[in-house]
């Protein structure tokens, strides 16, 4: 079972001792602030978890593998995530 926003909201309720509406609005707000920071092109560094950064990708020729059609992928900005060393070690059990 995946960890969803709803689950996060109900867990915070008990873990932090918040009312349901409080938990909901703070969780939503945390996500909004994170999204806004990235939308501004600013990196987001969460120590112990990882780093989200915005990368500029150049335009390139691509191909639709299904229709075999050639197409041009325009230059775009994407979000990339790099796991922190601490979390990576925890996940790998060392």
């Amino acid at each position: 079972m995946a960890l969803t926003k709803e689950k996060l909201i109900s867990r915070l309720q008990t873990q932090v001792g918040l009312s349901k509406p409080e938990s909901r609005s703070t969780v939503e707000r945390v996500l909004d602030i994170m999204k806004e920071s990235l939308a501004q092109g600013e990196d987001l560094l969460i120590s112990g978890f990882g780093k989200f950064s915005v990368r500029q990708k150049n335009a390139r020729r691509g191909r639709n593998p299904q229709t075999k059609e050639n197409l041009i992928l325009r230059a775009r900005k994407v979000v990339v995530f790099k796991t922190s060393g601490v979390l990576r070690n925890l996940i790998n059990g060392d």
């Binding site: 960890l3 969803t4 999204k35 939308a39």
Partner: protein, 91 residues
């Protein structure tokens, strides 16, 4: 932006104490980290999803010294950006 700036911004926006904002932010990432350690997926609509992937080990070379090295397989979270965030970043 780093975690303390996120905490400050949250306290201000929600009009709560720094202490409370800190507990919320820490709890959010602790729950997410725990899920990944349990190999559980995370799915946050509008933001993105995380899934732990296994990467095979391989034999490589140190490009400087030419020494043969063995890289062990590893598990790493893979982040897939959500639609809303993807569109906002690329605007």
């Amino acid at each position: 932006m780093n975690k303390s700036q996120l905490i400050e911004a949250l306290a201000k926006a929600e009009n709560i104490t720094l202490k409370k904002a800190e507990m919320v932010v820490n709890a959010v990432f602790e729950n997410m980290a725990d899920a990944l350690v349990q190999k559980e997926r995370i799915e946050i609509r509008g933001f993105g999803s995380f899934k732990v992937k296994f990467y095979n080990g391989y034999k490589g070379r140190n490009p400087k010294t030419g020494d043969l090295i063995k890289v062990d397989g590893k598990k790493l979270p893979f982040f897939k950006v959500g639609k809303e965030l993807r569109e906002r970043v690329d605007r």
